[in-house]
Symmetry: C2
Subunit: 256 residues, 2 copies
């Protein structure tokens, strides 16, 4: 931060990075204390990965840079879903030590652009970024008190994810290349916080043309081995253009 030549002290991006670990939806959180400050022992709080935007990069590039620092990967799925700009959003006393450890102008008002990111955790090894002491996956049910307004941002991200997963084929971004129908269904159930009917789910997914069955099956599982599937989509980012109907039972519609 302080080393970077041309930062915009008033605009940041924060990333709500989702990933699956042991069948639990997790958020990637960081602890910044101690990176370069005298506040090692202040508190042990966590927050969303984020940074001020540099003058020579656009917002998407800033978000991509943050993801790259943490994962080593570029081009991870990112979606900017909302801006948070309350004048006092970073002014709470208990956030002060974090701020001072990280910002050159701790009193500057900062508007943040919130991004949603989806990661296949089987493909990355998380490493603390240049200014991060610790980075870890936290199951979303165990997320407690985050810095600043990051709880609010995370809640909004979860809502955005829940809506998007029913419109765009982005669930696959959270899964490894090969997955079973059970994997896919339980991912939907976790995000939607609701059970869906197995037969209806399979029919819908297969009929949508989004997945292709492989001949390969599970091996060594203590039940009937499940078939593997792959996402049948255009490799990169034509996801937004391929709108599909992924609404599950009980979804609300308005006007057809």
């Amino acid at each position: 931060m302080s080393l970077s030549p041309s930062l915009n002290p008033h605009v940041s991006v924060d990333c709500s990075i989702f990933g699956l670990n042991d069948n639990a939806l997790c958020l990637l959180l960081i602890n910044r204390n101690g990176a370069k400050s005298t506040f090692q022992n202040a508190d042990n709080r966590f927050g969303l990965p984020g940074d001020l935007v540099r003058d020579n990069e656009n917002l998407d590039e800033a978000a991509d840079r943050i993801l790259r620092e943490l994962t080593g990967l570029s081009g991870i799925f990112l979606h900017q879903f909302k801006a948070f700009g309350d004048p006092l959003r970073i002014a709470k006393a208990k956030d002060r030590s974090w701020l001072e450890g990280v910002r050159q102008e701790p009193d500057a008002r900062v508007i943040t652009l919130a991004y949603l990111a989806l990661i296949d955790t089987s493909k990355v090894e998380i490493k603390p970024g240049s200014f991060t002491k610790e980075a870890k996956w936290v199951p979303i049910s165990e997320i407690k008190d985050l810095v600043f307004d990051h709880n609010e941002i995370f809640e909004a991200a979860l809502l955005a994810l829940r809506e998007m997963i029913q419109i765009y084929p982005i669930a696959f971004k959270l899964l490894p290349l090969k997955f079973t129908m059970g994997d896919l269904q339980s991912l939907y159930e976790i995000i939607l916080e609701r059970e869906v009917d197995k037969r209806n789910f399979r029919r819908k997914m297969l009929h949508s043309g989004l997945v292709r069955a492989l001949t390969e099956k599970q091996y060594g599982v203590s039940n009937k081995p499940a078939r593997f599937y792959v996402f049948n989509g255009s490799s990169s980012e034509e996801l937004y253009s391929s709108i599909v109907n992924l609404k599950m039972e009980g979804s609300i519609t308005v006007f057809n």
Copy 2:
């Protein structure tokens, strides 16, 4: 601008304000040249109403303030839908005169939060704001070259409006208190750029419970007088919670 005590020189809001005039969907555009600069004769270009965010207001308040300046009304429907932050978004040479007339730091990089606003044009008389030379409604089909990246922002606003109108009951924000089914249907057709079946539309709207029929009818029209309806919704802003299915024939769905 220069008079305002505490502006954030790096964050602005821009409003795509939609309204109906003579059955045409229009955007409210302003011309800022001449307000306080020497550039009266520079060019005659128009742009979206917007301003830098003040240090003591949040983003929604800034957008509301801009609407209030132009219409005298507060509490107009506003929805923040995207941030635009290209480093060079306001750096085009032909935008220079506008910038210098308006900004204290014309070279500062500015990230803008784009808002969508819906106005009942029968209720407001537009007046140029404090720093606006001219404000006028322009049919969206006649919108030409706007300043900065405002064409891009407007296009995104129109897409956002088109999506939202099929999910949330916000079309009524564009109509007077009392309206006919024909008014409502033609509004949907204008925004969706597609015709919908009259009988299906009426059934859907009435069955949705969103409108209530009055006994009052048109008077003095040269055809069968149409019945008036009113929006049956909670007065204020529980619109977001009342999701309805307003998708029209031919809409795309993904997964139910």
